[in-house]
Structures are given as C-alpha cells and as structure tokens.
Amino acid sequence: MWFDSPFSFFALLGLIPWFYWTSRATRPREWLVGSIEPFLHLAAKHGNARRRWPLSAWLGALGWVAIATSLAGPRAASGPPLQIQGNQAEGVMRQAFDEGAGRFVQIVSTQPQPISLPPRVEWQIIPGWANDFADRAAILSVRPASAGRWAIHWAKVGSSPDPFFISLLDHDVRVASSEKQGIVYLPHPDKDDIRSSDLLFEIKRSNGKPWQSAWSTYSLPLPLFLLPHADKNYEWRDALEAALPGSRANIFGGLTMHGTPILTIRTDLQRVKAPAGLAIAQPTPQAPEGFLTADLIFDGDPFEQCAPMDAAAQVAKEVRAWMATTPDGNRDPSDWWPVTEPAVWPENIWPDPDAWPTQANAFLLAGFLLFGAAFVLMHRGR
C-alpha cells in the first residue's frame, strides 16, 4: 500500500499525549467518605480492577491510527485516475512483448487498482509525491494482428480535448479524444526501415511531442529458461551466439513474472531466419506460465552433463538442427507471435473518482467513529 503523504504518520506522535490524557481522565477519583462500610458489598461486587490503559484509550488510539492512515494514504479524488511514468512504461511494454504481447501488462499509477482488472495486468501504485509526470494516456498492450498489422491497445483518461496520435515509426493513427480506450491498427513497417532491432511505439500529442514511448524488440526473443541464478551463466550465451552467428544474446535476470532468469537472443532482423522461438527449459520441460511452449527442449543442462566445449558443441548442433527445420524468417509476425488471447479490458476499468466512500474516506470515517466510541466509553468510566 502506498501513501500519498507518508509524513502524515507523524500525527501518530499524538498517541503519546492521548494515552497520557486518557490514563489521567479515567483514573479513579479519590472520594473521602465518613465510612466505607455500607459500600463494601458494592466494591466486592464490581472489584477494584482498573487497567492502566482503559479500553477507551485503545479504541481512541485505533481511531487515531485510522485517521493518520487516511491522511497519509492514497486518495482517489486527488488526481487523474491514471498516470503512467515514462520510464516505467518502457519497461512495461518491453516486458509485455517479451512475455507475449497482451498477456502481461504492468500499469504504474497513483490510483487505486481499478475494478475488474483483467488477469495478467499488474497494477502498481506509486505515491503521488514521487510522481512528477502527468501522462494521461498509455499503450496498454501491443500484439500482431492479421494482415501484417499491429494491434495497439491504448487507454486515455481525463477530459483533455486534445487529440493524440499513436505512432509506429513513420505511421501515425489519430485517436479521437472523446474515447477512453480502444485498439488502433498500424501497418507492419518495412523491415528495411528498421535499422535496429527495436521498434518504437509512441503516443504523441497533436503538436508532435512524444507523450509516452514504448520500446520493444521487434524480433521475437528467444527465451531460454534457466535454473535460478543461471543468469550469471555466460556459457549458454556464448554457445547460442556461436550457434547463431551475428546474433546478440542478453541475459536478463528475474524478468519474468516468476522471477525466472531469462536468456534472450537479440538478432538483427535482416539476418534472422525465422526465429520462431527457442526455449530450453531446465529442469522442467514445460515453459513457465506466460511463455511460449518450448519448441526445443534440452534434456538436462549440457553444461552440467558434459565438458564446456562438448556442451557448447551440443547446444550449437541442436540449435542449428532445429533452425534448419523452421520456416523462413520473413514470415509475418502474427505467424510466430505468441498465440495468446488478447487482453480483455472491460468498458470502464477506472474507478469513479467521486465514488464514496473511498478507502481514505472509509478510514477517516472509521477513525472518527472509533474516537466517538472512545469518548462514550470514557464517559462511562471505561
């Protein structure tokens, strides 16, 4: 749980005088009488037990904590319902592509998690005080569509009348400002236009300034699922680069949802010959959830079973043999893009900012109710 104003927790220091005051206020009052004899049976019946901290003190303290939490916590009505940090968005989208477009999206927002969030969408709340950006639109997912197009799922929030554009290299699509979210289709760029191995999806304002960028490798990465801590194992990378000359292998540790190290091979698009996917699962042959089913599976880790040179040779042999059986690499991405169900986004995923009570208001209300109950109990001597 994030807090917009964590400094409000300093209000908890007020618990010290609160406990002191309640302890004094509920202390028994000394009362001199001529004789206690007539009242002995009352004392015997109701006892002399007195707690140092009465129930009202604890109840009021709970109320105090609830109010402080409410003041510190996220408040839905305090800002636009969606904000996506640029740098985070890059990571989000890369992760989305790497693991299968439309299958895993991470949204970074100052707002509470929307209702009916689709599965595989991770909603990460960041504190408002740490958020110095004001993007009001986001690419939620990108996946290849039929006929050589990309389907780009976007969402827009706020009431800004400015239209914006979603671009893929030189291609732009104007998005109507009246809509909240939708899917636009952009044509697959000519491979010759791509000088690097990355594609750049962008949201641009009407004045052409980028609003949000989403980077991704265009070529399908070759995910290699390794054992834990195997992201330090460069033998695999070297073996794969040797097997696929001209490719670049990068190891990313803990990139998957499950924290499994992933070894990807980034290849130059113009040289790659149909890298439909390579996955070597170890020790289990099944790819982790969210990844492609492995097309090529090694039975065991060659580097644990053989000498390094022998293992590299074995990897190169099997990869080349598998590559020889794969179709031409110039096929449409929709052919080799992971066949996954597109993310289903409900019509209205955003919470109503005017909805009441929000979490903060509920805490506030609970705090005051607890305080009221504490004073009632105190009045009753408890």
């Binding site: 001199l32 009488v33 009352l42 004392a43 001597g381």
Partner: protein, 278 residues
Amino acid sequence: MTLQSELFPPAFFRALDALARRRVQGGLGNRQCPRPGRQVRGVEHRLISRGDSFRDIDWRASARQDDFLVRQPEEERGGHLVIWLDRSASQAPQNKQRDFAQRRLAYAAAWLALESGASVQVQGATFSGSQAASQVQSSLLAMPPPHGNDKTFSMSLAPMSNSRVFVLTDPWAGASYWSSFEPFAQSQKAISSVILVSPEERHPPSDLLEMRDAESGELIQIDLVNHRAGYFDAFEQQLNLQQAKAASVGVRLQVSDLPQDTQDFEALLQIIEASHVV
C-alpha cells in the same frame, strides 16, 4: 478572612435574629409570650430608664432605633440544654461544610436556649448568664478540626440529669456511638439527634471513585458511573439503620440535608426549627 468571620459571618447573625423574631412574634395562637422577671435578659426591648446598667444596653438595637434600648428582663426558663457535637473525622471528609454547619447550628441552639433563659452545656463546658453566648461562640471557634473516630464519644458524654440533649452528628456513626446513649437515656428529658447529610453524600459524582474512609483510611473502588443506584440504596439503608439504632436507645433522630449554598443560613437554621430542641 478570620475563622470568626468565616464561621460566623454577619449574614448568619441576621438569619439567627430573623429566626428569633419569628419565634417570638410567631403566628396567631402560636406566639411565645415574654415573661417579665428579673432573672435574665429577655428579647423584648424598652427605653433605658434610671437604674439600668450600661451593660444592659442592647447597642445593636439602640443603633437601629437611634435611642438607648435595653432588653427587658425576663424570668429564667428553659432548664438545661446539653449540646454535643460529633467531632470525629467523618464530619468533614470532603470539605468544611458540615463542620461549619455543625458549629453554627450548635451556636444557634445555644443562643436560642440562652435567650429563653436556659443554661447550656457545649462539649462538656457549661455556660449561662449574660456573657454565655459570646463564650459559647468562643468555645466553638476554638474547637479543633474534626479528627479521630466516634468511639471516644461514650467516654466524653456525661450530661447532668433531667436535661435536654441535642446531638449533632453525621450518617456514619457506629454502633458504639449509639450504645453510649443507653446509660443515661432514662435520666434525660429528651435526647434529640440530628444527622447532617452533606450535598456530596446525597449526590456523589458519577465517576469511578476511589472511596477512602475518613476515619480508618481504608480504600475501596466503586464504579458510580454504571452502578450509581447501588450507592443510593446503600446510603438509604445506612440512614435507615441509623434511625433504627437511634430508636433502640431512645434517641429521637432527625435526618437533615445541608443546603447546597453554604451561605444560605436561613435554610440551615430551619434544621434547628425542625428539631424542636429549643
């Protein structure tokens, strides 16, 4: 503020004077008639005449009438009044109200008795004559604050026979206190006792109380927020118990609530009227 002015302020004497006038003037058929005589100073005034002593001049009345007035001598009446004050610590557990009320009532009873020609005995000291009232007042002022317990009472009380006995006490007198009346109950004309109930005893605070016994110092804790009715029941039972004990030894007991306003002397002196001791 001196104890004299605090305990016996001018307003008290005005109220006492008004009480005396009410008693003298009374209503139709309910009037006390002065009996002219030579024994004691009466309540009626007359102009000074040859043969009167300057000491007989009632300076206060003279100042009001702008002429020298003396009190008309009356014959001595009223016999002997024994006033006994329960001076145990239970008299003043919270404040001085009951202590002061007790001494004021004692003075009022003594003054009225002296005015009616009686001699009085206050805490064992006998007073009579023209200076008796001021002597009673001095003795009441000199009394130490309430302290100790009421078990020493039986040793102290030894009135002369055929007297009227007037005892001022509180609701907390123990069994030994009442049993001390037994030896001489038959030899007295009447034994009247007034239990003075303080407003705090009638209306204790609604709170968690650490109740301390003023005499023994013992401590108990009582929740008067949630069990207030229990206190009232216990207090009423205590008063009923005192009534029963007093009746068993032949003491006529009167339970009187002290007025909330400590300066309401007229209300205070009504206790004297109600007791019929004078």
